[in-house]
Subunit: 560 residues, 2 copies
């Protein structure tokens, strides 16, 4: 280590720890009249929000919550969730955002593994909670969240209903200082095998993530994606990586925020219209649902800026959104990364390019946001050149990456092999630093000694006019190792078979964009493609389904 | 201290220190074609900038610079200074930005006190350097900075000329990691008494300051003050609080930067026009000089966004700039605070107000930027209410405040009394959190038991059509303790005496805006008002001048 000059601070100098409470010092104090909206039922000012965070802290303290305790929330996106995102960590406690789309068994596992001591339960999840309550090993008390008039529920050790408790509490709380490396939040990510794994983020990490993301959203794009005069509505669940951390950014800036509860596409469109939403973020699937909603028909979505992540954004999706007035920008991140890593904003060179080129770069994973360092590595841990050609595993360094999986030392060491966080994604990085995700390592198709990107193949197939949705996986093949298999949903009144798909892909082979081995010899036509709890293609499930159909000779299949 | 949950990082997890080198990861890598411009003589891309930072690091290393060494720079604003702002701290060394407007004796004092081991000297300062060289106790080597063809100078222990050395150096350097609390920069601030005092900032502090300022500039104003497509030109010297830290922000974002060398108003206007500058910052005096430049006559400065700090911004100055197309926003900070503390951007409530009200709030010190906590304190260290009325000393907490004065334990303890940084400024804070600086504690005029703000009085006097510039100080008075005294510069062809000034101020007294004791009984008419090295009114010097004139009965004086 270099012998730099480190000067001990003056007597009495204040050592400023980076704590989540600091995010309330600017916008949320200055923009007192700005609104926070929940569906069509709640609307209050930032002044009220600040008071409610203090009330909640008093309620939780009275209920016995102490620093170091884990407090879990089971809720859809709401103003109450936002209050929990501040009050719980600000007490020095850990917020566990429960993924309520997991199976009851998985939820039970995560709650016991995280050692939840308190749980805030939305009334919709009371039956689910009752089903697992007897097997919860650490929970001591529960609180009820509800929009209904019914303020009680058959929850064990119920302290009371959130709104009634808040109304009776003191609207002031003097939040103490503590170590900025204290864990603030935790949640679980489901892998392809084994139990869900817990990632966790400290106060320091969340403050730095918030500042860097604010810089991205405010300064780095040719347009300002989110500034103080925007209206923000998340369409990525708050239980999923804190809605990508944007609620912390919006609150720091004092931006108007709109929380839509459960994601009902019709309501999303109505809220978008009524509240004049200008900035959101979501996965491609949800955007599709919103644009296809009845309420969306004939609506001009002009002025809506959306960041798309979670899955690759295809050119078709980009152009379909653009035709409706929506400006999409791709971004990349994952649960382990808090999540923001890169965003597809355009530099001076690309802005001067053709529209086609600009589109090409708007749908890539983009360039690292401030403070993020990205590289690609081969199987032996050697760095590969950033030449836009060399493919390797994307590895990362940033101030906000999970420092491990909670109580999983072996998986943690693997995640951080060689001092870089391993994403499990295969990517290229070009001379401008633009990351292009080619595939998940486990989703790359290895056929006849060649590697085929399932993502690339999905993109090309999705350009067929009859295709509404597509998933490509590699299936075991005795001769070739693996062969690509396509699962398709076709548009109403349209048809497609394996032969038709081959015809569609042939030109790409002839132009050298695609290996001839990449043409699927078998496809399946279905009405819906299985998705994970966060809306991604569930390729594990898809492979299982296909294997079953192949064994049973299902009518879904079409073979060359 | 609360017992929060702190989890030891996984084996191999990378502990990410906040280092200045990280600011080069985003914009400066992605915006490779963007330009950095120096006067009308140098123009290169960010790609070249990144290489030159590495070349400079190799040159300095070869010259013997090691981590922990202090490396001083004596230069006007230049691309080379920008390179030093990165390369020197990135080596783990400390950059001492010498205030070349101080007297040779003061410069000598600061260089010995800071323990400078290496000095980069602009050829213009060679005579100055030669005058103090024999008394420098720690300097080992010098480097020459020059735009001329003459590449040598009579500097003791000269390593060589900057450009020649860089041209011969390797354009790659692998910068090591080290403790984020390492000192990165230092410089000296001149108080009213005693020797200059050294403030210092760590890597962590500068990274956090950069991120918070990027958020301010990108997101918090109703307009984007500086984003990736702006063109930035500082008009606050780089030796003065790193040009307010904005070069770090601009570089992180990859913004086009224009460095004007020595501040020649005619050249500033020409550069502004030629390079299409959109964002700058300066003290009010320099703006005045720019707008009065010959080259500026008839120029429409539309699209120029300027942050004004260093001295209070008057309504007259604001409106004069507006009439020329310039959008001014006041900001507040000081050498001890890195410097950014607050900025006068407008919230939803004010944006909806009258133009007059918006102007009133655009010229105040404004609201704290993200992560800054501000309060006002009375003489006994008790907090005063934020009611817009109570006046007290402005005290601060933020992640980037100097942790003391270098090797001055007593002054450091005083600066940080009670765990808050004491600014020495008297202020009010209103219910929106808006800071209004009333005066320096030592410049408040105490007359007949009342406190009069010299700043307020200056503002009212400056509204008189004949007044070009004004400074008000309190002068000892046997009967009243102190009495206000005004030093005036009148516009060409105009005249004013003490009686005329009284007539001008009377309505403000009648409307209750001003105490009758605030009307100066004596004024002086001069051609120039003394300024400090950073362009502020030099009230210490002004008091001395006035005392001398009063003793000698100078013709400058006009008495009621």
């Amino acid at each position: 280590m270099l012998q730099t000059r480190v000067i001990p601070p003056a007597e009495n100098a204040y050592p400023y720890p980076l704590l989540i409470k600091r995010l309330l010092l600017s916008g949320s104090r200055y923009e007192k009249t700005r609104e926070i909206v929940y569906r069509d039922s709640v609307r209050y000012s930032y002044a009220t929000f600040n008071e409610r965070v203090a009330r909640l802290a008093n309620v939780l303290t009275a209920a016995g919550v102490k620093a170091g305790d884990t407090v879990a929330v089971m809720d859809w996106d709401s103003h109450r969730y936002l209050e929990c995102m501040f009050a719980i960590p600000m007490l020095g406690a850990v917020l566990h955002t429960i993924n309520i789309r997991l199976s009851p068994e998985q939820i039970l596992y995560t709650m016991n593994h995280a050692e939840d001591r308190f749980v805030l339960v939305n009334c919709e999840f009371v039956p689910l909670y009752q089903g697992i309550a007897s097997q919860l090993t650490t929970v001591e008390k529960t609180l009820l969240l509800t929009d209904t008039a019914e303020k009680s529920a058959a929850l064990p050790n119920l302290v009371g209903e959130y709104e009634e408790l808040l109304a009776a509490a003191d609207p002031r709380y003097d939040f103490a200082d503590f170590d900025e490396n204290s864990v603030a939040t935790t949640f679980y990510t489901t892998g392809t095998t084994g139990n869900p794994k817990g990632v966790y983020f400290t106060h320091r990490q969340l403050v730095l993530h918030t500042l860097s993301m604010a810089t991205l959203l405010g300064s780095l794009d040719s347009i300002r994606l989110m500034g103080t005069d925007d209206v923000y509505m998340p369409i990525t669940p708050m239980f999923h990586v804190h809605a990508w951390g944007v609620p912390y950014v919006a609150t720091m800036l004092g931006v108007k925020q709109v929380y839509p509860g459960r994601y009902d596409p019709e309501l999303l469109v109505k809220l978008w219209q009524k509240e004049k939403v200008t900035f959101s973020h979501c996965v491609p699937t949800i955007l599709q649902m919103v644009m296809n909603a009845k309420a969306a028909q004939g609506v001009d979505f002009g002025g809506w800026k959306l960041i798309i992540g979670g899955s690759a954004l295809t050119r078709t999706q980009y152009e379909a959104a653009k035709a409706r007035g929506i400006q999409l920008t791709a971004a990349y991140g994952m649960s382990e990364t808090c999540p923001m890593i890169s965003c597809a904003h355009l530099n001076e060179e690309l802005l001067a390019g053709s529209e086609d080129e600009r589109t090409t770069y708007r749908i890539k994973a983009g360039v690292p946001v401030p403070l993020v360092e990205a590289a690609i590595m081969d199987d032996h841990g050697q760095f590969l050149p950033a030449d836009g050609e060399s493919q390797g595993e994307l590895v990362l360094r940033a101030p906000w990456l999970t420092q491990g999986y909670f109580r999983e030392p072996e998986k943690s060491a693997e995640l951080w092999a060689g001092g870089w966080l391993h994403t499990g994604d295969v990517a290229t990085i070009d001379g401008m630093g633009v990351i292009d995700i080619r595939d998940r390592i486990k989703d790359v198709i290895k056929t006849g000694g060649e590697w085929i990107s399932s993502l690339e193949l999905e993109d090309l197939i999705s350009r067929h006019a009859a295709v509404r949705e597509v998933a490509v996986v590699g299936m075991p093949d005795p001769q070739w190792g693996e062969r690509p298999f396509a699962l398709l949903v076709v548009r109403d009144g349209q048809a497609l078979d394996a032969k038709g798909l081959k015809e569609h892909l042939k030109p790409f082979v002839e132009q050298g964009h695609l290996s001839k081995w990449a043409i699927p010899t078998q496809i399946a036509l279905v009405t819906e493609i299985p998705k994970t709890s966060v809306g991604k293609l569930d390729k594990k499930r898809i492979r299982l389904d296909i294997a079953q159909w192949q064994a049973s000779g299902s009518a879904f299949l079409s073979t060359l």
